[in-house]
């Protein structure tokens, strides 16, 4: 490896003083200029002596000539690499192999260290994130299929009916034909509460009271039955409220609001003998959607006349002789029947409404000002709408064409998920009292449960199971 050019170095001792430039690339390339090493030595040795009074870091280790040469003659080297002899190439390869690749072997234990335990780690992670600036928003997992499927044989495939409700005692009620079933979601037990006479049926609407004790059942015969689920007894029947079937029901404390095929909406005080307290006249066709706002101040109603009305409690006159109460707002923008109505849980004056097969739009209304805030064409008949209580999200259920459920981000209305398990149109939606689970019943005779609103962070509140046993009835004044 001794370079031929180093012959001009006087003694071996002296050579040691001067750090040699790395000779490898030059040597291999055969581009070593004959002037190189002599210049190095001549220029450097005097500089060491002359400029000894100054501290110039590592000047001795630098080689200006070399640097200059490398800067100015890069071309020459490149040219040379193109015409390397096979021997030189082999040498280069060997060199690279020695220097780069095969220097070490990377080994790891076959047995990996134990993974930190999940729960403790999760706790640690939570304390870590809570103590640090802003926790990164975790992506929520949206299950793509239903968690559970129950059979719903004999379901009446009618868009205008509201035959599914989920009470605050965690019991779901569903009407299949003439029979009303109660499904306790805590233990999965099923009970058939009542089977209506053939002449009165089928059941066209069900609704749990706010306390989850009583259930109102609207019938095809225009009667409305009131049942106590703790004792499984019928409390009373409201006759003559409507002229035809009762397709929609909504509770506001002790007021049971009923919407009939005759287009009337009636407030019934279930405690009073003469139970009709208000009649809202405004719809010209069947009322198929009824929802009280969270505050109980406003009632939204949707009808087969493609209209949405907002009724205000404070404007209602209890004087029945006046004959009518005027609506606060009337929205005629939908082009088909409006069954899907949902009041926003985080903004009291926001209502979402969805139109039927010819409309396919979800519209958002400010019910104070009466303005339409947004409208989204979903491409399918909108059968139901539900807000997520924990996130700003809206779930819509669809009939023709998609027969799916769609989850939307509000207010951007970006579609987060589309769930297509149902094979026929979805008829009704209901939300569990904890807000995490959604039930959907469809014309394919299945009831599906979706954990679509479940959040991983939120600890699930424990809900009391409804007790239909004998002791529960003692708390009642009969």
């Amino acid at each position: 490896m001794e370079a031929p050019g180093s012959g001009s170095v006087p003694t071996a001792k002296r050579r040691r003083l001067v750090p040699r430039p790395p000779p490898v690339p030059l040597e291999v390339a055969g581009a070593r200029g004959p002037y190189m090493p002599p210049l190095c030595i001549k220029s450097k040795n005097p500089s060491l002596k002359c400029y000894g009074d100054r501290f110039i870091p590592d000047r001795s280790a630098m080689d200006m000539d070399m640097a200059y040469f490398l800067l100015t003659e890069p071309k020459k080297e490149k040219e040379n690499t193109d015409m390397l002899s096979p021997a030189e190439e082999a040498y280069k390869r060997l060199l690279a192999e020695k220097l780069l690749n095969n220097r070490s072997r990377i080994l790891a234990f076959r047995n990996k260290p134990p993974e930190p335990e999940g729960i403790v780690q999760q706790l640690l992670y939570e304390t870590l994130t809570s103590s640090q600036t802003k926790p990164a928003r975790k992506c929520r997992h949206i299950p793509q299929s239903s968690e559970r499927t129950l059979d719903a044989p004999g379901i009446v495939d009618d868009f205008y009916l509201n035959i599914l409700d989920w009470g605050c005692k965690n019991v779901m009620s569903i009407a299949l034909g003439n029979t009303l079933y109660l499904w306790n979601s805590a233990d999965g037990s099923i009970m058939d509460l009542v089977t209506i006479d053939e002449d009165d049926g089928p059941i066209t609407s069900v609704s749990w009271s706010c306390d989850g004790q009583r259930i109102a059942v609207g019938l095809n015969s225009s009667d409305i039955q009131l049942w106590d689920t703790s004792s499984n007894r019928m409390l009373r029947t409201l006759h003559g409220v409507h002229q035809s079937r009762v397709g929609s029901l909504a509770w506001n404390k002790n007021i049971l609001t009923t919407g009939g095929m005759d287009g009337n909406i009636v407030n019934n005080d279930v405690r009073m003998r003469s139970h009709v307290v208000h009649i809202y006249r405004g719809h010209e066709d069947e009322v198929c959607g009824l929802r009280w706002s969270g505050s109980g101040q406003q009632l939204a109603s949707g009808g087969n006349d493609n209209r949405v009305h907002i009724w205000d409690v404070s404007m209602a006159s209890s004087n029945l002789s006046l004959g009518h109460n005027r609506w606060l707002h009337r929205f005629g923008d939908h082009l088909a029947a409006v069954k899907a109505l949902a009041w926003c849980p985080f903004q009291s004056n926001l209502l979402a409404s969805g139109g039927g097969g010819d409309d396919r739009c979800i519209r958002f209304w400010n019910t104070h000002t009466g303005l339409c805030l947004n409208s989204v064409d979903t491409g399918s008949q909108v059968c139901g709408l539900l807000w997520n209580k924990n996130e700003k999200e809206l779930l819509s259920a669809h009939g023709y064409v998609q027969n799916s459920l769609a989850l939307w981000k509000y207010p951007s209305m970006v579609k987060l998920a589309e769930l297509e398990d149902h094979t026929a149109r979805v008829l009704c939606l209901a939300q569990s009292p904890d807000g995490f689970t959604v039930a959907s019943v469809a014309a394919d005779e299945t009831l599906r449960l979706w954990k679509i609103f479940e959040t991983s962070e939120d600890a699930k509140p424990v809900f009391k199971t409804v007790n239909t046993g004998m002791f529960n009835s003692f708390s009642h004044i009969r």
Binding site: F109, R110, E115, P116, Q121, A136
Partner: protein, 207 residues
Amino acid sequence: MASRTASKDIITLRGSAAIVSEFFGYAANSILYNRGVYPEESFTKVKKYGLTMLLTQDEGVKTFIANLNTQLSEWLEAGKLQRIVLVIMSKATSEVLERWNFSIQTDPEVVDKGVIKEKSDKEIMREIQAIMRQVASCITYLPCLDEPCIFDVLAYTDMDVAVPFTWVESDAKLIENPQMVKLHSFDTKIHKVDTLVSYKVDEWDEE
């Protein structure tokens, strides 16, 4: 008298290997504690290097590090170990988040000819202490590990080392475009250990 003081500071290859592997054991424990790879409660305090060090009580981790140390000492004594890397990875994605790099330079003279070097214990301990302090203070600039993590140890050995039965060849588990911080070094005169931590650049800084 003179010979006695001298003998005190004598360091052999075997002793040096023991110091280095012990150092690695404590460093690994300290990293696992400070970076929150294992829960805080699973560590106990011990006095070491003039500092309060934390050692894991988790049996699994303990055995892992103990087995590791035995093997490392063996390689160190043979002068075959070039580098030890402690890798911290995301449990969920196995993405490498941090690499704690301990490069080891072994004096070949000592391994080949059995030359005995001199360096006082105290001095070595002082150097190690400085590294340990730095490891503990790394928390201030390293990005937060805000997800469950796991760790692994890689050993870079010479090519002629026979792979022990309990070990497998691994890739380098490199971080792409990492941020690197060099920490202090220590030198037993036989083994010189350079510490370097490289980590994934926090996207936050980029914005």
